[in-house]
Symmetry: C2
Subunit: 307 residues, 2 copies
């Protein structure tokens, strides 16, 4: 179902040696900050054409930090100003902020601009991108490289290296615009995978949003244990650490993800609840055969995963 | 509730410079193999008294490997033979095997021997240890340092270093025997924590057995997704990797753990189900305030954990 894209090496992001292109990154958190750092470095190495990177952030201190780190050449708190002359606009804010910003991008972006978002859910965002003025070239995107830390301080140029970067071209997206988006993915060291937005959302609900909710429920369950919780936390070790790691994720980002991918997340939650009920039944009735079958199925699948 | 033991440095494990003591390790998997390796090394460094380590395993190839690695000085497949002259008997098999072996240890161990088990659950095992002949000195033990790999091949001398090692002395355990058990914990570099067996079982059910079942249910839920599962596995990244890691644990060991800690595990499973139901309800009804409260509670708790 997923199509991995073999990059045509003739297409290089922003290969315009004559004059610098302008790329505007809206949101300089972990994703936007890392993308700006990675592209700035590639341009400095002359592996891609000359690039002027403009950052947009609500927070002037973030703009200062990004400038100081060499991630952006200029910064503004004003979205309209930031994107006015951009050849490429990258939306790197949380999913629901992206949904609010798309119409504003439509009003102010210059005709012909590539509009790429990095939102963690794609169906609602791609539907909104489809409503952009005809002259713009929208592509949905989702780099699969989360961390449980947020903000520009956590950004790093190598974040995308070797990672999967989902692209969701719209029916209206031109081949040239898609090729530029793929070349951008290539430039930051990631591997482009083309997916239908709805398929993307159901798949990432399974491997990202559901594990997050499982981690949240796990932490809250142990905390609810009353007197025993204190001893439990004292004994917690690497097993609990890893299983619960995602619970530390940025709440605003995750809230946006869950609320823009509700149907898929609810489906998987139901499936998880069914699996837990099966395990509980087998354990309660002492049905060792059933219990062993469930544990063995999970073990073989997990050992077989290349992660 | 947990009592951390400040070691009296005058008590050193097996400080009998005149003649070697004999320690018998039954089961040379990850735990038993690592314990033998750690103690053999400490004895070779003369940080503890001279030690003759005898290994007991069903599998002659494991005995050969343990001998070749310097973990044991002698090996046998016969439990009675292995423990006949042991001053210290360490049971390092899965929990239900320990329960079967305790009576056999009672028949063949020499009077005065310290009998320590490394089983992952403690209430049933400590009850069985209480039935040993009066001359023996039983102490329940549980080193908190699991890995999702099993067998002697995964054993390492440093496994216990800096980790918590729970000890459950019985009412009948002499002070001298407990001091020797604590000194053994100290010798392998771990930190002894004294706990009541029932408290231990409820606490580890929360931070170890419950996360394991959550990981199993998560893997099986995603696998049950039909056509979408293939895409999901393709996109799975570090978040899914960590949340599901425990699902790769040794099934025999985990089955023994779950079946010897049923009541506590079922209680926590119920709590986890309640938390998931709350999350589902908030998401289904779009109750952002409730959802945010649950996500934020988990995030603050998880960030605050020193793991």
């Amino acid at each position: 179902m997923a199509i991995e894209v073999a990059m045509d090496r003739q297409v290089t992001f922003n290969l315009q040696p004559s004059q610098p292109s302008t790329l505007c990154v809206i949101g300089l958190g972990l994703m936007g900050g890392s993308l700006a750092l990675a592209l700035a470095r590639r341009a400095a190495e002359e592996r891609i054409g000359p690039l002027r990177i403009v950052g947009v952030s609500r927070n002037p201190a973030t703009l200062d930090a990004a400038r100081a780190a060499g991630a952006i050449h200029a910064g503004t708190t004003d979205l309209a100003e930031g994107i006015a002359r951009a050849d490429v606009v990258v939306l790197a804010t949380p999913a629901r902020t992206i949904l609010r910003q798309i119409p504003e991008v439509g009003r102010h972006a210059r005709p012909g601009a590539l509009v790429l978002d990095l939102g963690s859910t794609k169906a609602e965002i791609c539907a909104a991108l489809a409503g952009l003025p005809a002259g713009l070239q929208p592509v949905g995107g989702h780099p699969m490289c989360g961390k449980e830390v947020a903000g520009f301080a956590a950004a790093e140029a190598g974040l995308f290296r070797g990672k999967t970067f989902v692209l969701c071209p719209l029916p209206r997206t031109s081949e040239a615009a898609l090729a530029q988006a793929q070349a951008l993915v290539d430039a930051v060291g990631a591997r482009a995978v083309l997916l239908d937005p709805a398929v993307h959302d159901r798949a990432v609900a399974a491997i990202s949003h559901l594990p997050y909710l499982a981690a949240v429920a796990l932490v809250n369950a142990v905390e609810a244990g009353g007197a025993i919780s204190e001893t439990a936390w004292q004994l917690a070790s690497s097993g609990f650490r890893d299983t619960s790691r995602l619970a530390a994720s940025d709440v605003d980002m995750m809230l946006d993800i869950l609320l823009t991918n509700r149907a898929a997340v609810l489906d998987w939650l139901g499936e998880l609840q069914g699996q837990l009920a099966d395990l509980k039944l087998a354990l309660m009735t002492g049905d060792e055969t059933a219990l062993r079958a469930q544990l063995t199925a999970a073990q073989s699948r997990r050992v077989g995963l290349k992660l």
